[in-house]
């Protein structure tokens, strides 16, 4: 009897957790498909519509250009950060040279610096260079957040690869660079892919930098959300539609790499 109670109790708790996680997300998705008048009620009895998506993509909201900005900023940031970080991660993982520990610590500790500290000087520099409100500015600052993080993650993945085959190849006369290209890269590929997606998510969701450094041309999706706060009040149905646009690509990516995701996201933190 007691056992049965625990069994059901455990299931009930699990269902409760799932509800707590899924409810806010589902509510936003539902609202995105509601007519404005239905959005301002808690009723579930409504006729779904795509109007909100049509509205956010047309004037004056132009969500399309924000999507473009978000995609370009995130893709370019990943394309720069991940290759550089992979090389550094390999070096940190395999070589025992002087200053290695210090350098690694230095790079890691920058991850703990609050973004608001970095954005002040960048604002001043970009202002004098005329780079405010450009995608380039956002890419540069995002690299600051993402690079140390990716080095850390990829190092974790490379550390987990046994060195045997590398050593064997080098005894056979292969050069280090060859070994990296032909042995390490293929084996580390899933880890590097996971890290890239992580890096993409971080950049895609980044808010503080974009809020301060963009005005009109370079606005990304998360900052775009704020623009639905108008004199007429908050336009929830439009915010929800924009919210769906922000979350869907990220959710798909996160679920695709779900297995590695949980491992990667805690890789460096406890080990």
């Amino acid at each position: 009897m007691k056992k049965l109670l625990t069994w059901w109790g455990e299931r009930a708790l699990l269902v409760l957790i799932s509800v707590v996680v899924l409810f806010p997300i589902s509510w936003m998705f539902l609202t995105a498909f509601k007519q404005p008048r239905d959005a301002y009620s808690t009723s579930l009895n409504f006729t779904p519509t795509l109007d909100n998506f049509v509205t956010v993509f047309s004037d004056p909201w132009n969500l399309g250009s924000m999507v473009m900005n978000s995609v370009i900023v995130a893709v370019v940031t990943v394309a720069i950060a991940v290759p550089c970080a992979s090389l550094a991660a390999y070096s940190f993982s395999r070589f025992r040279v002087r200053g290695r520990k210090f350098l690694f610590f230095l790079i890691l500790s920058t991850q703990f610096i609050p973004a608001v500290v970095i954005v002040l000087p960048f604002f001043l520099m970009f202002r004098s260079l005329g780079l405010l409100d450009t995608r380039l500015a956002l890419i540069i600052v995002n690299l600051a957040i993402v690079t140390p993080f990716v080095i850390w993650m990829i190092k974790g993945f490379i550390d987990a690869i046994p060195t045997d085959s590398e050593e064997a190849a080098m005894i056979d006369g292969a050069s280090r660079l060859r070994v990296i290209k032909d042995i390490v890269l293929p084996m580390a590929a899933p880890g590097i892919l996971t890290s890239s997606i992580f890096c993409f998510i971080l950049t895609w969701n980044e808010f503080l930098f974009a809020l301060i450094l963009s005005r009109r041309d370079a606005v990304t999706l998360p900052v775009g959300l704020v623009s639905f706060r108008t004199e007429r009040g908050d336009l929830w149905e439009l915010m929800s539609a924009a919210g769906v646009m922000i979350t869907v690509p990220i959710f798909i990516m996160a679920l695709l790499i779900q297995k590695h995701f949980t491992r990667g996201m805690t890789a460096g933190a406890v080990k």
Binding site: I25, A39, T42, P121, F122, I151
Partner: protein, 294 residues
Amino acid sequence: MKERTLSYTLMVPAFLIVLATTLYPLAYSFVTSFREWDLTKQRRPGDFVGIENYVHAASESGFQNSLWVTTIFVVTSVIVTVVLAMSLALLLRREGRLHTFTRIILILPFAMSPALIGVSYRFMFNPEFGVLAKGIGAIFPALEGTPWLASPDLAMAILVITDVWHWTPYMTFMCLGGLASIPRETEEAARIDGASNLRIIFGIILPQMKGVLMVTAVLKTIFALKMFDQVVTLTGGGPGTSTETMAFFIFNVGFKWFDMGYASALAWILTAIMMIISAWYVRMLLSERKMATA
């Protein structure tokens, strides 16, 4: 090429990025923190004023309020998150279809944009049509029409809830990782001896999880000190200044009042706090590893 040269060469690109995007701006803001620089009046950096900006911080009420707000926010969100994460980990470590499903969907809050989380909770707690405000009102009629985000304490509570919702999954995965690494034998022996679940959890599992829990708590503290996005999208620092965290206050000083010197000084105070906690974190990680290899 010599191994050593190659080793450094491989680090160069990443190191240059970190140098240009973090270390240089840090130095720049450090220097600025000793200057007077009101961007509304001066195009170029003003005179050096020594530690005046720091002295100003010591007596200014806005900053002191933000220190207090940040402390309350960090302490409550860290405690709630760590306790919840540990409990969830204990629940989720077993195998089962429902367990796996729950573990998978736990990824979603972490992947969601924090700014959007703030927006969606603001919507759900709207007293007139918010689904949570209405739901609570239906269960407890006395709370019907409560202006959730217009009351300082409740606004802070909701801010903490959004942060807990966002971070608990990540911390749960950390605890799950910790649980997986402790040996099962003692636990099973105790179970055969007929020890109750509570005894096993408090007497055997939690003592072994102490290290992991400390690491989780410190990491969460660092994230909580940085928290900014939801303040903007959920409360806007209000009502009044009741949810103005340090990051948000620095943002206001810098980008509403354009007092760059003072903002830089405040930013450096926050950095100093973070550095102390981070150093503590790194030391704990190192001693953890020593324990693990011992």
